[in-house]
């Protein structure tokens, strides 16, 4: 987080992928990102903003529908905000804070 602390128009966060989702993101499970602190309309960056950023900047795999369907995180993906189910935190509208960890996990069914 260090060097972006001086630039208060950015929010340093970490983003993790697991359960196979990392395959869509260059097979890398852990990312340290610096996100714009506000959306174009000036409102604070949310999980929704992050998902837009991931689709625009980070996803390399053409199968974006394995991550987002109809503009929302697809069924079968859990989103964790600082290790807690995002339903405890306000889901897509949660406003990102510096240092947040956002964890996307694909639900598994094999055994």
């Amino acid at each position: 987080m260090g060097d972006s602390a001086a630039d208060d128009s950015k929010i340093p966060i970490t983003v993790d992928f697991s359960g196979g989702l990392e395959i869509l993101f260059s097979n890398q499970r852990h990312y340290a990102l610096s996100l714009p602190a506000a959306d174009k309309d000036g409102s604070p960056s949310t999980i929704k903003s992050l998902v837009g950023y991931l689709l625009k900047e980070l996803i390399k795999d053409p199968r974006q529908d394995l991550f987002v369907l109809d503009g929302h995180i697809r069924p079968g993906i859990l989103v964790l905000i600082n290790n807690a189910d995002w339903e405890l935190e306000g889901e897509e509208d949660y406003e990102l804070q510096a240092g947040d960890n956002i964890f996307f996990v694909s639900t598994l069914h094999g055994g």
């Binding site: 993790d16 697991s18 359960g19 196979g20 989702l21 395959i23 869509l24 499970r29 852990h30 199968r63 529908d65 394995l66 369907l69 697809r74 069924p75 079968g76 993906i77 859990l78 964790l80 290790n83 807690a84 189910d85 339903e87 405890l88 964890f103 996990v105 694909s106 639900t107 598994l108 069914h109 094999g110 055994g111």
Partner: protein, 314 residues
Amino acid sequence: DNGTSRRLTDEEFDRYSRQMIVPGMGKEGQLRLINGRILIIGAGGLGCPAAQYIAGAGVGTIGIIDGDVVELSNLHRQVGHSTSRIGMKKVDSLITHLRDLNPLPTYIPHPFPLTPQNAASILSAYDVILDCTDNPATRYLISDVCVLLGKPLVSAASVRTSGQLIVLNCPPAPQGVLADGPHPPCYRCCFKNPPPPHAAPSCGEAGILGPVVGLMGLAQAGEAIKILASALHLPTHTGEANLRQPTLLIYSYDLAGAVGPYTFRALRMAGRKKTCFACGEGSEGRLTLEGIKDGTPDYEVFCGLNATPKGGGL
């Protein structure tokens, strides 16, 4: 008498001595295991190691349900089977192995698939249920029946290099009750909708590493044993509050790197949800044992609804 006051036989004392001297187990915990009944649904990569340790620990009644037969491609991870038992029903193969490990438990084979028609009558005979299956439709079915029968459910899954584990419905609360909560979640509280089918591959399609699925199955055995031995599924137990912080354990094995801070993560999940189809407000009106038997909900349709088949899933 709940059966926890009888004497142990000499063989039981010798066989279980090393676990009985662990603080918190003792003779009382051992007798709870001996009087306990666990159903293992699926005799594959999760079910094999789970069954080995549940049998080893001396759980008195162990049911195993699976309709498949042993295949060569199972054996790298399904360590309760063997090359000489290829072609045998998995349930019979696994019980053969378990009986030689520990002949004392009663082993109950259910050598056929779990279905909406047979689920309730099978599950009702057990105290703790292990979901060691390999497809979303069966996972929703098992959870729904556990809600309706009031059974604690230890659910795990694993594909490729990832694993997940969660204890659900423990201690069980009556369907639809939201007062005096929070109550523990069911599978649907945590995983409301199944993924599109092309995003939920099986181990056969996507592959699986033995130690990954094995570790999850073993962790399931650990949770099931603690539930029985410490009676954590009984509502009056003091451990209740503890189990009410539902936790999803995530295992991310890295074939190219060492164990690290992201290898195991414990995620805080929400409790029972008011909006849950199976256990939430008004759920008694939409989910019943009779309905399930008669085909409502239709689990195949539910898990195929979003079907837009494409190449290669996650």
